[in-house]
């Protein structure tokens, strides 16, 4: 993307005024998206963004500048802007010797989306629309969208790292609105992977559309969710995001070093039920949060965070691992060249247990069965979280009964981890978008079916 000798010269000028570490990140990302709504193909959209972000670290201080000008002159100007924070130190001569460039292309069997005609992508939307509408007469609105992206980046730093990587992602989603006597309800389903157009051969598009349609239809007969503390059985398809939010964020080393996480200083301690083993793993298949090297040029790893209920480790990026004098766990990510990297999750999941999912439900006298959670939010300082339930049912006498209207559930991450009393032998992973400090990155969230002894449900029905 940029020649090695130019990269070296840019790194040298970034360190001209001193500094402990300098990095050049050059990125080009092309996206395509198409959407269908109410039977009409809406505008197709595509485009390219490219640019470079340069950072210089001096002690605890980071200077960062980004530019869309990829000429040597533009890069050097950004390097000088980034190094402005280091001006107060005495200049030292820096030599930068880059390693041999490590090129990580997409897999050979990847079908690059730009090689597929736009007609074929539009045709997918029409299939999704037809399938969703055939699910029931109450389906009045169907939205379908297809998106792909091809991202290529180069990252080089003063430690010699020099990695260039290609990442391809494809995402398909369906949203529906069903109308009945009780009003309108919405349903949604999405599939997203770190792979090319070959994704289409791996999934059942019609099934995806029917799932979104049935969610809306089911909720037409939903009753208000109860209010108060109840046992909750979380289905593997829908719940992984809870652990991403409620536990994952608190295990990011930047929160730990600022003492703004409830998990600070708890390594080696029991923080969860012994049934809980939690991993963050950037190497899982072609999941939404998967990559080969992170945005700092460190290799993705499979990291055990909690083992049998005991806290084993946090997640680390370059900055935090340098401070702690350890290796990065491959969790340094950034939304784009215009953002500073920070500690981010990849695919975060709870490993499967030994119980039978049906038996867990049968063993619950009264509670909530959650088939799909919506988005959520956590305060890492306290561990308090809130989540929307987008598909949920009552459990009465060990059986799943009435569907429930949407409501939030609220709780505390550490408490939920301690209150898991059954973990099933099934497992699934779903894609999500994780936001932190204004940056969004794709992640995967997974879990088996499990039960939490009590969570507060924010419904409107009394007890």
């Amino acid at each position: 993307m940029v020649d090695a000798d130019i990269v070296e010269r840019v790194l040298r000028s970034a360190l001209m005024s001193g500094g402990d570490f300098a990095e050049v990140f050059v990125e080009e990302k092309a996206t395509f998206s198409a959407a269908l709504d109410d039977g009409n193909v809406e505008e197709l959209s595509s485009g390219v963004a490219r640019g470079a972000g340069i950072r210089v670290r001096f002690g605890e201080t980071t200077g960062f500048a980004h530019t869309a000008d990829l000429s040597e002159r533009g890069l050097i100007r950004a390097a000088e802007a980034a190094s402005a924070v280091a001006r107060r130190s005495s200049a030292k001569t820096s030599t930068v010797a880059l390693s041999q460039r490590l090129f990580v292309p997409v897999d050979v069997d990847t079908i690059i989306a730009t090689s597929i005609s736009k007609d074929r992508k539009v045709e997918l939307l029409l299939r999704l629309d037809a399938a969703a509408r055939s699910a029931g007469a109450s389906i009045r609105q169907v939205g379908a969208s297809y998106g792909d992206s091809f991202r290529r980046f180069l990252v080089a730093n003063s430690n010699g790292t020099f990695v260039e990587e290609e990442q391809i992602r494809t995402r398909i989603s369906v949203s529906t609105v069903a109308v009945g006597d009780t009003g309108m309800q919405g349903g949604y389903e999405t599939v997203a992977r770190t792979m090319g157009f070959e994704l289409i051969d791996e999934i059942d598009l019609e099934e995806l559309a029917r799932t979104a349609a049935n969610r809306a239809i089911t909720k037409l007969s939903a009753r208000p969710a109860p209010s108060g503390k109840l046992p909750v059985v979380l289905n593997g398809r829908g719940g992984g995001v809870l652990f991403h939010e409620a536990c994952g964020h608190g295990l990011e080393a930047d929160h730990i070093s600022k003492n703004s996480s409830v998990y600070t200083g708890k390594i080696g301690e029991r923080v969860a039920s012994p049934l809980v083993t939690l991993l963050d793993d950037g190497t899982v298949g072609k999941q939404w949060g998967t990559y080969r090297y992170d945005d700092e040029g460190n290799e993705a790893k499979s990291n055990v965070l909690i083992k049998d209920g005991v806290l084993v480790d946090y997640m680390w990026d370059q900055n935090q691992s340098d401070r702690a004098e350890r290796v990065s766990s491959g969790n340094g990510r950034r939304q784009s060249y215009a953002h500073l990297p920070m500690v981010r999750m990849t695919n975060t999941y709870l490993t499967a247990g030994e119980s039978n999912p049906q038996e867990i439900i049968a063993d619950t006298e009264y509670g909530i069965y959650i088939a799909q959670l919506g988005g959520g939010q956590v305060n890492t300082a306290t561990g308090d979280f809130v989540f929307g339930m987008t598909e949920a049912y009552l459990i009465e006498n060990g059986e799943i009964t009435a569907p429930l209207r949407e409501a939030n559930l609220i709780g505390n991450g550490p408490e939920v981890l301690r209150n898991i009393d059954a973990v099933a032998d099934d497992f699934s992973m779903v894609p999500g978008t994780c936001g932190k400090d204004g940056q969004s990155v794709p992640v995967g969230c997974g879990q088996p079916t499990l039960r939490i002894t009590e969570v507060t449900i924010g419904g409107t029905a009394n007890g």
């Binding site: 959209s45 209010s227 703004s260």
Partner: protein
């Protein structure tokens, strides 16, 4: 901003017969400073620009964008938009904006030379001072997650094949702190912010006291028992609530059958105490702009008048579909996005009663300091509303003990009807909505 004018000239020369074209061109400079324990944790300076192109041929729309303003990149974006337009379903209402006879209001300059000429060292010092003030505010403030300064200066142009060519430019700056308060094993966090057009107008004492107060007053918070109660929203919470309500009034949502406000114009949809205004030209908004994102004049629209629904937000496309005029409400999500109608500067009209009197006259309520899970807990189709919250119990007009880890639930429709009192303390901050202290009766609070 020479690049912007060059790009405008070039794009105009590339417009072709037989198609409608619109270009949105943006050039932006940003600074952000993050302080931790009085040291600079990061200092970011950035320049970015880009163009978004929309082309309509035979009723089919295609869009494209480029993250640079280089001539080749613009050419590619135009070609790509043209190609993309081949695939859409023909739609007789598709097109770009036309002059509607409404002139953009003359507004005082949104461009602050004072801000841009202030040296970086002073901006760094301001963020440091914010940390010092926040710590000094209360001995229970143990640390700050960060203390931040940020500024943005942008210039944009919208041009289209109907001859619209309008420019806007603005600067604004802000400072915010994340305070962590602690006592024993417990810790609580609080957020405080101040935003302004000029550097000298940032009020860090306000931001510090807000962050410190919000963090310390939650110490000792317990989980309340479930009940039905009146809630009093802090201005920041009202701001979120206002955005949610206004968002459901988008004509796009209505036309797509995704709003519970469909077919309700002229009906009472809220308490007669409530008037919802959208006025992006109101200069109390830091991001006030004379034009919308299709180049039409921004204007004041009354959406709900003393409880009665008056209308929806329209852009050019949705207006044509309904046979009405655009309300100048086109919003664009950056250069890569298409436009859709929605609020651009909305607020409930302030009442007469002061915040203090409002609280003083309440027998029993919960003052809601912050809500969470808004994107997942509010369903704009059905109106179901269920969010996480923390706050302080109000008894006989006095603030009492803090409570946390509970949800408040109702429906948007019911909450609008249950508005009890709108206070006078309308507060403007960053963003396209403003809020005041607002009391809403009969909400379900779920706790223990």
């Amino acid at each position: 901003m020479d690049d912007l004018e060059k790009a405008v000239k070039y794009i105009k020369s590339a417009m072709a017969d037989g198609e409608a074209m619109e270009a949105f061109i943006l050039s932006e400079r940003e600074v952000s400073i993050r302080i931790y324990e009085l040291e600079i944790e990061s200092l970011t300076t950035a320049e970015s620009s880009g163009v978004g192109i929309r082309i309509v041929r035979d009723g089919r729309t295609g869009i494209s964008y480029s993250g640079t303003l280089e001539r080749d990149a613009i050419t590619r974006a135009i070609e790509e938009a043209r190609d993309n337009s081949r695939f859409g379903t023909p739609d007789e209402f598709a097109g770009v904006a036309e002059f509607d006879g409404v002139e953009p209001p003359s507004m005082s300059s949104q461009w602050s030379h004072e801000l841009l000429s202030t040296p970086m060292e002073k901006k760094i010092e301001l963020a440091r001072d914010l940390e010092r003030l926040t710590r000094r505010f209360d001995r229970r403030i143990r640390s700050l997650n960060s203390s931040n300064y940020g500024e943005s200066a942008y210039a944009s142009a919208i041009i289209n094949s109907n001859g619209i060519e309008r420019y806007s430019e603005a600067t604004y700056c802000w400072a915010y702190a994340h305070a962590l308060a602690g006592e024993g094993d417990e810790s609580q966090s609080g957020f405080g912010m101040s935003a302004a057009k000029n550097f000298g107008e940032i009020d860090i004492e306000f931001a510090a006291s807000e962050a410190a107060t919000k963090a310390t007053r939650m110490l000792g918070a317990t989980k309340p028992r479930s009940m039905r109660t009146m809630v009093i929203f802090e201005p920041e919470v009202t701001r979120s609530f206002t955005s949610i309500v206004a968002g459901t009034l988008s004509a796009e949502r209505v036309q797509k059958g995704r709003s519970f406000f469909a077919n309700r114009i002229g009906e009472a949809v809220a308490s007669s105490k409530l008037t919802l205004v959208d006025d992006p030209t109101d200069e109390r908004f830091f991001a006030a702009v004379p034009i919308d994102d299709e180049g039409l004049a921004s204007r004041r629209n009354v959406m709900i008048d003393r409880g009665e629904l008056k209308g929806y937000f329209y852009d050019t496309y949705t207006a044509r579909k309904d046979g009405v005029k655009s309300t100048g409400s086109a919003n664009r999500g950056g250069i890569a996005g298409s436009t859709s109608p929605g609020p651009r500067g909305c607020y409930f009209e302030a009442g007469i009663k002061s915040r203090e009197d409002l609280i003083k006259e309440v027998d029993s309520a919960v003052l809601i300091q912050s809500i969470s899970g808004v994107h997942s807990g509010v369903n704009p189709i059905s109106g179901d509303f269920s969010v996480g919250a923390e706050g302080v119990v109000v008894t006989n007009g006095e603030l009492g003990e803090p409570i946390k880890e509970f949800t408040i639930s109702s429906t948007i429709q019911k909450m609008l009807g249950d508005v009890h009192e709108v206070a006078s303390d309308l507060t403007f901050r960053l963003g396209s909505a403003a809020g005041m202290t607002l009391a809403i009766g009969d909400v379900s609070l779920s706790g223990n």
